[in-house]
Symmetry: C2
Subunit: 133 residues, 2 copies
Amino acid sequence: MIAKKALLFGGAVGLVYLLFATDKARAQNTQDRVIRLAELEIDPAYVDEYKAFLKEEVETSIRVEPGVLTLYSVSVKGHPEKVRLFEMYASQAAYESHIQSPHFRKYKVGTQQMVKSLTLLETDQILLGSKFK
Amino acid sequence: MIAKKALLFGGAVGLVYLLFATDKARAQNTQDRVIRLAELEIDPAYVDEYKAFLKEEVETSIRVEPGVLTLYSVSVKGHPEKVRLFEMYASQAAYESHIQSPHFRKYKVGTQQMVKSLTLLETDQILLGSKFK
């Protein structure tokens, strides 16, 4: 009985420790992150089709790629054809793996004729302030 | 003995349920979020001073304001004077409260002479894909 209680307590302590350790590991690696901004202008005739491709690509990347941390996609208010992406990858390797993935290739090829212009900005971190960890 | 086990099991189930319920509540409110992009050009002579003001403002806002969800700040690679912010607030009320806060006012007044230009973009969400919840 006491042994069982001790086991349960030990398990609980272990779990809590694991959660904190994971959190700490994440926090320590933020300097490796690659953050890219993309500014796109979409052909107004294809905004809905483009968004469908983009949503599928974002949803799949976040779900299946451990190193794709954030793909925030928005459009400028009143200008659905002006799309902005805030992309955060765990590392350069994670970014390179992402652009070789089948879901990214599908999005890239599928939307090629819909994108009138694309500006990519590589960035340096100042401070990544967030409630989400 | 059996009663104690049942109690432990019930507690565990309750905890897991609570975690999922909280997650769901968060997910449901994403449509209320306000997302703003800011593009700033800083006087090159004041880049370091500007960054110190910005970091303090970001750190304080995330720590003390429940409705300030994300303040990601980066600069364009090779151009430390070109600053980009990705700002996410829980609601319009949270945004309005933020710009009235003493730490935001301190940043705004303190950096006034350092900022050569500021472009603010209001946005509509397409999809906020993220590993972080």
